[in-house]
Subunit: 301 residues, 4 copies
Amino acid sequence: MADPAPASGRLRARLYSIVFHADDPLGKAFDVALIFAIVASVVVVMLESVASVQARIAGGLRIAEWVFTILFTIEYLLRLRLVERKRDYALSFFGIVDLLSVLPTYISLFVAGAQALLVVRILRVLRIFRVLKLAHYVNEAESLGRALAASKRKILVFIFVVLTIVTVMGSMMYVIEGGENGFTSIPQSVYWAVVTLSTVGFGDIYPVTPLGKALASVIIMMGYGIIAVPTGIVTVELNREREHEEAARRHEECPRCGLGEHDADARFCKRCGTSIMRATPEASGETAPESGARVAAPSSA
Amino acid sequence: MADPAPASGRLRARLYSIVFHADDPLGKAFDVALIFAIVASVVVVMLESVASVQARIAGGLRIAEWVFTILFTIEYLLRLRLVERKRDYALSFFGIVDLLSVLPTYISLFVAGAQALLVVRILRVLRIFRVLKLAHYVNEAESLGRALAASKRKILVFIFVVLTIVTVMGSMMYVIEGGENGFTSIPQSVYWAVVTLSTVGFGDIYPVTPLGKALASVIIMMGYGIIAVPTGIVTVELNREREHEEAARRHEECPRCGLGEHDADARFCKRCGTSIMRATPEASGETAPESGARVAAPSSA
Amino acid sequence: MADPAPASGRLRARLYSIVFHADDPLGKAFDVALIFAIVASVVVVMLESVASVQARIAGGLRIAEWVFTILFTIEYLLRLRLVERKRDYALSFFGIVDLLSVLPTYISLFVAGAQALLVVRILRVLRIFRVLKLAHYVNEAESLGRALAASKRKILVFIFVVLTIVTVMGSMMYVIEGGENGFTSIPQSVYWAVVTLSTVGFGDIYPVTPLGKALASVIIMMGYGIIAVPTGIVTVELNREREHEEAARRHEECPRCGLGEHDADARFCKRCGTSIMRATPEASGETAPESGARVAAPSSA
Amino acid sequence: MADPAPASGRLRARLYSIVFHADDPLGKAFDVALIFAIVASVVVVMLESVASVQARIAGGLRIAEWVFTILFTIEYLLRLRLVERKRDYALSFFGIVDLLSVLPTYISLFVAGAQALLVVRILRVLRIFRVLKLAHYVNEAESLGRALAASKRKILVFIFVVLTIVTVMGSMMYVIEGGENGFTSIPQSVYWAVVTLSTVGFGDIYPVTPLGKALASVIIMMGYGIIAVPTGIVTVELNREREHEEAARRHEECPRCGLGEHDADARFCKRCGTSIMRATPEASGETAPESGARVAAPSSA
């Protein structure tokens, strides 16, 4: 009791490391436990909505729900206590998700029959992303994300073209088929065009007249080409990503002195002058670099 | 009143800049306002077709429609007034779309119950493309368009093969299943084959006999391969596009003197003689080794 | 009448050129007329199967059918007369298709109600491929065909994996769902698995039990990955095709003397010795060739 | 009878070669016969489940089933007898599949009505993979497998994102549509979201309310982008595989002395010094220019 403040300071630093860091052993255990708790609590929320399950084990589900709610509340308060900028955390995306994960259960104590409100707890699933963010999966997610971000403009143009097609085609089907065949309004027909062009095809609405079927066939043939576009865009971007990764890896280590992290446009190791292009063949399976090494070799003779 | 003509001339030039140019500040505002008006007017046309909405706010929709019609009419007359070649504009794609966007509303004053005619106004959605044409999205659209145009012949061959498959397969299903199972005629069966091969699968018609189901399975397995072809074509073309873009960008600016727009096959800046290949490694991550070769070559001289 | 044989020989050669060559002007007209006749006759066969159309214009359709049948018969006999190896033609793919295109109509004169037989005439659609074969579209078709042929083995492995998955998954669904939910037998359940895995999803059969729905979700998630495989295979092969085409084009013409058609691995024009690699940058947008040209340039100094 | 043990040893080695090797002529015949037996027995299991077939040829099917069961039992015992490590085989994947292929038939003798148990025999289909494993198809399968394995992490991130989307979107649809429109519980709604996002679209459940249809359209538009991701991942990995294969093939044989299997980064044949890069242009159509550079370099010496 001679030095309580530093001890609490050390405890606090320890707790911070456990809660916020994935490389801390206890922190890793905390993350794994958290993922399990999140998944289990999401399953509980799902099961609560199933009438037959609810009828049998309503009590068990309620107890489980309260256990998870209290655990998540403690976690939320702990995070709020440990972070420096409490306001920033509380208003951050994950801060709001954390709050929405527990709030509905408390409100349900006072407000009865708030089914829609309780569903909000399903957002707990988003909390898994925070744990993944700490883990090494972030690279992969970032790679996918960058690929999508890089082609944002192409995707916007694509979406706009699709929206135009479904609007015009849906309106044509509305005129051709009419309300008696399920095409009761333009929005309804546009919805049908979206479902058809994307090859989902529920079958709740479908053309009945020969002309409608002919136009539907045309829309479907267009869908062939259209579904190819996002795939092409994403593939090209992922390929570019791969090439960049390989190029980056290529410069990682000097083959003679082992120096890594050269500039992206460096051609020789900045410490020992060795060509750092030689590392390429293994990395990418392309023979391009050989020409560099090959020509350089005679010049040194 | 001393110099009315030049003043009107200046006004006209100003108006022309606002209406036809996106880089003019007021012109940009005009474009944004136009897009909002177009989207809002399309929503009005859509809502008019929904019986329940129509019942409640028919008056509001009619007023909104007339406001948009009058605005678009003014815009149309303005464009017609401002352009040099009035005839060319009136007969151009967008000239016709502009006219079709307003005409049905006026006609509906004289001809009652022209529902199909009013739907023509949905073509207003196409007018957004004119605004986009002015903006920087045109590059992206052109890139997609060029990719599709470049593989036009491959796509035609593909479409013809698909049409042959659905014709032959549809006819076989017509013989196998017959009218009692929904395959009432060859065109109907071909329509089913289109819906199936494209993986839309409405479910309004489906095989019932074992032999029909077996053939349907074969068609579906073929669909696997077939849906891959347009995707492959578009991806390859988009990749080619990307390579061209990167090659073009590569030559954009000399790293020393900043001179841009070198010939596609230029190897040294034509003004200052600096190698303009240095920009390559970052751009594509592929040709890096050549730069090594280039530097090595002079060293042997 | 002095020289009848040579005249008939010349006529025969002329006819041969018209019927078999696309570059002959009259031959081109013959091809276009043939395509129109084929498409029209296929439309007639289709319309004949539509009860409502048949009821109204049965007479017109019958006359049209006989006109086409007689025309195609004349064409068939002409081809048989003109070719050297009559037996080879008669037993070739197109020879059989030509015969099957006219035979059913003649047989229907003697055998009544041979509906299934009349459908055989739909095979006329295949005859269009012969015309295309003469045109320049054959390159595109061959390119697509080669891409598919090159990945034949990968596709076979893929199809076998898919068949295994649908067999095992279909059997599991048969046990889980049972006959009362539409999964009446293993073949039926396998058919459902094919329809689901391919994302067609007719909806004629669908899981009803929670366990069945869970397993269906797993199958669908597998379908995501599986549908990606043929697309990936075809894309990679089409890309390889493109690279080969570009490489071939690269060697097409010597930039100095204009000599074309060098060997695929030729590095210098065999007539004048100019490096024929210089043509590459424009062709592929890759800068690789520069290194060759670049290094060569100093050597000539 | 003087030397029975060696004779039995020779017989055993012969049998081992037939059963376990594909390159032995008799072994090949054994493999082909085995594949036919497996496929036939799987067809028998399937047909047994079809009520109408079962009613007619129940006796024939039972006999066929017992013939296959006894054949497969002999094969199983033979394998068990021939292998060195009997325990390892019995507990291996194929050892268990072999046992499960015959066991249910014997059990059905004692336990009546074990329909679910008999379905287990469908796993016989997996035994074909063992035969394929011996054949040359293993390369293709490995290539596909490696491509999938290489992008395992990206695929895991992708699956997790998809699961999150269907959970959140499914819950929203549950709140919006409610039980009366088929969205009876969150798991049910999540199942609908899986069926929709993947573009399967059975149509057993579909949105009815305008808001539900609007959200469904959003989910479907997301599905466009999402279905593109696995395709992109697999395509990029297959492309990488192709490049590696080409790079490997490139080094396969020296064009002068025929020496194969050079190191991946070898530039000259290690036996005769010939440049082994010459094979490249045909192989990939990409690295052609380097060969130009190589020849040019010595010319400057």
